[in-house]
């Protein structure tokens, strides 16, 4: 990573770096359930999110910056999400799209559903709804981009190893 994680960049360079990063987010298609349909609708012609700089169809987690978890996470699928999240290179961002991935949603009392994907991976933006409108996803992306715009990469990497989250313990 060179100097970026060790040195606090001066404001003009930081502005340009962050501007480049926030308007070229490759999003990893992690559509699980119904919210994936609204995610696809957001990527299609009417509510296009490419105009915001979010590019769909990343070829794999290793070439992605943004993970949008849309849909219900079950206990059987949880290890796969963790593995795919770990495969993404830093700096990476996660949007939890829909109430199932926020907190379990309408299946809050199910025996096989993980109550919220934040039990497994850290989340940056929560978009509520069942399913949220495409405009809500666009709003969430804009909020995320505002946050990336003022982000300091040195602070991000100085946080060190993120604490592991143990599912079910």
């Amino acid at each position: 990573m060179g100097l970026v994680d060790k040195v606090e960049l001066p404001q003009p360079i930081k502005f340009v770096f962050n501007w480049g990063r926030k308007y070229s987010l490759w999003v990893f298609n992690f559509g699980l359930a119904c919210c994936a349909i609204e995610f696809i609708a957001t990527s299609m012609a009417r509510h296009d999110f490419i105009r915001l700089g979010v590019i769909p169809f990343a070829h794999g987690p290793r070439q992605a910056d943004l993970l949008v978890v849309s849909g219900t996470l079950t206990d059987k699928m949880a290890p796969a999400v963790k593995r795919l999240y770990d495969e993404m290179p830093e700096p990476k961002y996660v949007i939890s799209f829909g109430s199932c991935s926020n907190c379990g949603g309408p299946y809050w009392d199910s025996y096989s559903v993980t109550k919220g994907v934040d039990q497994i991976i850290p989340i940056d933006v929560y978009v509520p709804g069942c399913p949220p409108r495409p405009e809500a996803l666009l709003h969430g992306i804009i909020k995320l981009q505002e946050r990336i715009g003022t982000e300091s990469l040195k602070e991000r990497y100085a946080r060190g190893e993120l604490e592991p989250i143990v599912v079910g313990a």
Partner: protein
């Protein structure tokens, strides 16, 4: 390598029964795969071994979290086993803890692109068990919404199936249509995807002013666009080459697996619940059930496109038949279905959806079984995928038209 040896070079296997076309077969020491000794042109022995490939659970082409474990001999699939359960949200257990009316909001999420058709089945089975009379206006409007939902569902697959085969344009066209129909759905019900419009005893609310005219204006626009799909996709020679003759499902095998919907119709069996056991007022409108001849992927897709046209025919007929009147019967404060069991069969866009409900005269159902079409359709995948090549696997899996939430419930 002489055939008298009993171990393979390297992985310490043991000899097993010879394959029918000659050669010697060895099984690897850890029990995985069977290696076949083949002879190349210079009559030297080449040893091959089957490879186990895991497709999914996250994969751009599997429509969601379906995992298929395939055993490959080169590019040919010897066996394929779908592993499901990654979207198991236990609808049947959750339904036992919810009131009869609350199940509707839960159940429109298992086949998540056809929400009204799912809710309709629940409303019908509860009304059947309670002996409720639904007003005529509500039944006609339910039919209208169910057929629009059928068009929505089929458009989803008309867009995503060519995408899996490499054609990106139909996806954008299909979603353009979907957005227009979803605008109509939002005008009527307030929701885009999960509508929760049916209620036990009728509907949530009446059609707003202008909705019927919007629906009337939408039908000819859609008809023109469906013609575009036929020429763009079905007439494309690459699409035809990739799907004709692939994944043939004979009619008797389809019935034995319980495959229903477009896949069954493409195999030549015109079994449609709207015709054989008409519910709502399907016996008062005229429509055809398109069937195919060969049961291959091309036929399944062609049947899907033809079904959209038939649904548009039904919608046009329903427009003229909606009478004025109330849209819901008054329910008692506590809804209890009498003890017993009832069964309702509906034609979901993906196939045949049945609800079997057992009630012990309590406020919540005792057992609520959902027989979903995709569960049976996908259980036929091991039969369909045996002997196909890997690129054809994507064509076959996409042509079965399933939704993962429908499989796992």
């Amino acid at each position: 390598m002489s055939t008298e040896q009993t171990t393979t070079g390297g992985n310490g296997g043991r000899q097993v029964a010879a394959p029918p076309d000659g050669g010697v077969a060895f099984q690897a020491a850890d029990g995985t795969g069977v290696g076949i000794i083949v002879r190349d042109r210079a009559d030297r022995a080449l040893q091959t071994q089957d490879m186990t490939l895991n497709v999914g659970p996250q994969h751009p082409a599997t429509h969601g979290v379906l995992r298929v474990v395939v055993t490959l001999d080169g590019e040919m699939i010897e066996s394929a086993e779908p592993v499901i359960g990654y979207m198991h949200r236990s609808f049947e257990k959750l339904a036992e803890y919810r009131d009869y009316r609350q199940i509707i909001a839960l159940v429109n999420r298992h086949d998540w692109v056809s929400s009204i058709c799912n809710e309709l089945g629940v409303a019908l089975v509860v009304e059947k068990q309670m002996g409720l009379e639904v007003p005529e206006r509500a039944t006609w409007i339910r039919m209208l919404m169910a057929e629009w939902t059928r068009v929505l569902n089929h458009l989803m697959f008309v867009g995503s199936y060519p995408l899996e085969l490499g054609a990106i344009t139909p996806m954008f066209y299909a979603f353009r249509e979907r957005e227009e129909i979803q605008a109509l759905m939002e005008w009527i019900t307030g929701g885009r995807l999960h509508l929760t419009y049916c209620r036990v005893g009728g509907l949530k609310q009446d059609l707003p002013r202008g909705a019927l005219q919007l629906s009337r204006d939408l039908v000819p626009r859609l008809r023109k666009r469906v013609k575009e799909y036929e020429t763009l996709v079905l007439g494309n020679e690459i699409f035809a080459a990739r799907t004709k003759g692939i994944g043939v499902l004979p009619a008797d095998v389809a019935c034995s697996y319980g495959v229903s919907g477009a896949s069954l119709h493409a195999s030549g069996v015109p079994e449609d619940a709207r015709k054989t056991e008409p519910y709502l007022f399907y016996d008062q409108v005229s429509f055809d059930v398109p069937t195919g001849r060969n049961g291959d992927c091309y036929d399944r897709f062609a049947v899907l496109v033809a079904r959209i046209k038939e649904s548009l025919n039904i919608i046009e007929q329903v427009h003229e038949r909606i009478p004025p009147g109330p849209v819901a019967t008054k329910l008692p404060k506590v809804v209890r279905a009498p003890a017993g069991h009832a069964y309702v069969r509906a034609e979901n866009p993906l196939g045949q959806l049945s609800y079997y409900m057992v009630s012990h005269n309590e406020k919540t159902p005792w057992r609520f079984k959902m027989r979903t079409p995709s569960f049976n359709n996908v259980s036929a995948l091991p039969y369909l995928l045996k002997g196909t090549l890997v690129p054809d696997m994507i064509a076959v899996m996409g042509s079965v038209f399933f939704i993962v939430g429908d499989i796992d419930r």
